[in-house]
C-alpha cells in the first residue's frame, strides 16, 4: 500500500510539473494560431521592415515599433544597469550590515509598486521637465527610457545584492591578506565571483523593460514613426497591442496578435543570448 501510494505521488507531481510547460505551449499555440497565418499571408519581410501602420487601409508595417522597443530597452539599461549594480556593490560591500537591513527591504518594497504609478509620475513630473528644458512634446523615448530605467532598479539591486552576498567571505579575506585594498578585493575578486548573478539581474530587468506596457503607454507618446532623436514620441510593440487590441477586428486583430508573435520572438532571442553569455562567462 505504502509503496504504491508513493508511486501515485510521483506521477501526480510529474503531472503537476508539466503544468508550466503546458501553459507555455498553450499560450504559444494560441498566439501563433492567431498571428502566424497573418504574417505568412501578409509577408514576413513586409510586416517586419515597412513602416506604415494604417490598419483600416490594410497597411501593417511594424518596423518603427521594433526599433522603438529596442531603443527604449537599451536606454533603460544604460540608466538602470550602472546605477543598480553600483548601488548593489556599495550597499553590500561598503555599508554597515545594520544600515543594509533597513535599505534592502525598502528597495524590495519598490519592486511591488505598480508600473502605472511610475508611469503617472513620468507624465506629471518628467514629461513637463523634458518639454520645458529640452524641447519636443515631453512624452518621448527619453521619458520612457528614464522611467523604465528607474523601474528596473529594485530588480537589479536586490538580485545583485543576493549574488554578491553569496560570495564566500574567505574570498575577500584572501584578497585583503594579499595586501589588496577593499576596492581592489571587490573589483578583482568579489565582482568576478558574483558576475553570473549580476548578469542575471540585468537580463531579468531587460525582460521587464521590453515587456512593460502600461507605463510605456503613458509616457512614450505612442506615435507610429521611427525616432530620429530621443526627444521624439515613439510606440513600442507592447503599447501597440494594448492600445489597439480592445477595438480591433478581423485583419487588424490578427496583425496585433502577429505583433505579439514578434514580441515573443524578440524576448526569446534576448533571453537565449543572455543565457548563452552567462554560461560562457560563468563557466570559466
Amino acid at each position: 500500500m505504502r509503496i504504491s501510494g508513493d508511486k501515485i505521488a510521483k506521477y501526480v507531481f510529474l503531472a503537476i510539473a508539466c503544468s508550466a510547460i503546458a501553459s507555455l505551449l498553450l499560450i504559444a499555440l494560441f498566439i501563433l494560431l492567431e498571428g502566424l497565418p497573418f504574417i505568412l499571408r501578409y509577408g514576413p519581410w513586409k510586416f517586419l521592415s515597412t513602416s506604415d501602420w494604417r490598419p483600416h487601409e490594410g497597411a501593417f508595417g511594424i518596423a518603427p515599433m521594433i526599433i522603438s522597443s529596442l531603443w527604449i530597452t537599451a536606454g533603460a539599461m544604460l540608466i538602470g544597469a550602472p546605477l543598480g549594480v553600483a548601488g548593489a556593490v556599495f550597499l553590500s560591500e561598503f555599508v554597515p550590515k545594520s544600515v543594509m537591513c533597513i535599505i534592502k527591504p525598502t528597495i524590495e518594497l519598490l519592486a511591488g509598486i505598480p508600473s502605472v504609478v511610475y508611469g503617472f509620475i513620468g507624465v506629471m513630473v518628467l514629461a513637463p521637465l523634458i518639454r520645458t528644458n529640452l524641447g519636443g512634446p515631453g512624452l518621448s523615448l527619453l521619458a520612457a527610457a528614464v522611467i523604465l530605467g528607474i523601474m528596473v532598479l529594485p530588480t537589479i539591486i536586490s538580485i545583485s545584492v543576493d549574488a554578491i552576498g553569496a560570495v564566500p567571505n574567505a574570498f575577500r579575506e584572501g584578497a585583503l591578506a594579499l595586501g589588496a585594498t577593499r576596492w581592489q578585493a571587490v573589483r578583482m575578486v568579489v565582482l568576478k565571483a558574483a558576475r553570473s548573478g549580476i548578469i542575471a539581474s540585468i537580463i531579468l530587468a531587460m525582460g521587464r523593460a521590453v515587456g512593460e506596457t502600461m507605463a510605456v503607454i503613458m509616457v512614450a507618446g505612442n506615435t507610429i514613426r521611427t525616432p530620429h532623436s530621443a526627444l521624439e514620441p515613439v510606440r513600442t510593440l507592447t503599447a501597440n497591442i494594448a492600445i489597439e487590441m480592445s477595438a480591433a477586428t478581423g485583419m487588424h486583430r490578427q496583425a496585433l496578435f502577429a505583433t505579439g508573435v514578434v514580441l515573443f520572438v524578440v524576448i526569446m532571442i534576448l533571453n537565449s543570448l543572455a543565457m548563452a553569455a552567462m554560461r560562457r562567462k560563468g563557466g570559466r
Binding site: 507531481f13 528607474i150 494594448a242
Partner: protein
C-alpha cells in the same frame, strides 16, 4: 605613472556612493511623492465606502476587496502547481531530458511579458471558455503568470534543505512522500513564502493583463463570474481618464501601504517560523 590604490579606492567609493545616493533619492522621491499627495485623502470613509460618480467621490471598498480576491485566487491555483513542480524537479527525479525541458519552459514562461498573458487570457478564458471578464478569468491568467516565479523560488528553497535531512528521514523508514511532506517542505517553507510574496506583489501591481481578463467593474463581486477592479487598475483609470487625481493618489497611497504590509507580514511570518523550528 600609477595612481596609488588608496586613491583609486577613494574615487571608486565616492562614485559608487554617489550612484547609490542618487538611486535612493529617486526611489524615496517616488514614495514620498505618492504618500504626500495621497495620504491626506485616505480616511476611514475612503477605505470603507463604495465609489460614486465613477470614482470621483466616495471610497474604494469594493476595489480593496477585488485587490484581495484576485491575487488570492491566483495563488490558490498557482501555489499547489508551483510547489508541486518544484517537488518533482528536486525530489522525484534526477537531471533528465524531461527536467531540462521543464526548466527551459519555466524560464521561457518567466520571460513572457504580461501583455501576452493578457492576450492569451482574453482569447482563452474570456472567449473560448466563456468565463467572461471575471474574477475567475483574471485569477487563472495571473496564476499562469506567477507560476514560474513560484516554481523557481520553491526549487531554490527545496535545494537549500541539507541532503542529510532526507537521508536521515529515509533511513528511518519513511517513504519519499513522507520525507517530502514532513521534512523537506517544512524546512523549505521560508523560501516558499518568499516566492509567494513575490508572486503576490506581481499580481497586486499588474494592470494590463488584469484589464484584459478581469475587467474593470468597480462593484462588489457576488461570484467568481463577476468582474472585479483592482487598486492598480482603479489608479490607472482614475489618473488616465483624469477623473480625480486626488482619489488616484489616495488609491496609490493605500496600495503602497498594502505592499508594505504584505512585506512586513512575510518577514514576521518567516521569523516566527524560524524561531519555532529552532526551539
Amino acid at each position: 605613472m600609477r595612481v596609488p590604490p588608496k586613491y583609486t579606492q577613494m574615487a571608486a567609493i565616492t562614485l559608487l556612493g554617489g550612484a547609490t545616493l542618487l538611486t535612493l533619492a529617486v526611489l524615496v522621491f517616488i514614495i514620498a511623492f505618492v504618500l504626500e499627495k495621497g495620504l491626506p485623502g485616505v480616511t476611514w470613509t475612503f477605505l470603507s465606502a463604495e465609489p460614486q460618480d465613477m470614482g470621483r467621490a466616495g471610497g474604494i471598498f469594493p476595489i480593496i476587496v477585488g485587490t484581495l480576491l484576485l491575487p488570492l485566487l491566483a495563488l490558490v491555483i498557482a501555489l499547489p502547481l508551483g510547489v508541486g513542480s518544484a517537488v518533482y524537479l528536486c525530489e522525484y527525479t534526477r537531471e533528465t531530458r524531461l527536467t531540462r525541458v521543464i526548466r527551459f519552459g519555466t524560464d521561457c514562461l518567466a520571460g513572457i511579458p504580461s501583455i501576452i498573458f493578457g492576450l492569451f487570457g482574453l482569447v482563452f478564458f474570456v472567449g473560448i471558455l466563456h468565463l467572461g471578464w471575471s474574477l475567475l478569468s483574471g485569477g487563472l491568467t495571473l496564476a499562469i503568470m506567477i507560476l514560474p516565479t513560484i516554481i523557481r523560488t520553491s526549487e531554490e528553497a527545496l535545494r537549500a534543505v541539507p541532503y542529510a535531512y532526507r537521508e536521515v528521514s529515509c533511513s528511518m523508514g519513511a517513504t519519499r512522500w513522507e520525507t517530502v511532506r514532513r521534512v523537506v517542505l517544512p524546512n523549505a517553507l521560508p523560501g516558499i513564502v518568499t516566492g509567494v510574496m513575490l508572486g503576490l506583489g506581481r499580481c497586486i501591481s499588474e494592470t494590463a493583463a488584469v484589464i484584459f481578463t478581469a475587467g474593470t467593474v468597480a462593484a462588489m463581486p457576488t461570484s467568481a463570474f463577476d468582474s472585479v477592479r483592482t487598486m492598480a487598475v482603479h489608479f490607472y483609470l482614475l489618473a488616465r481618464e483624469g477623473i480625480s487625481n486626488e482619489k488616484a493618489y489616495g488609491t496609490a497611497a493605500v496600495l503602497i501601504l498594502a505592499v508594505l504590509l504584505v512585506n512586513l507580514a512575510a518577514y514576521w511570518m518567516m521569523h516566527a517560523f524560524i524561531r519555532r523550528r529552532a526551539r
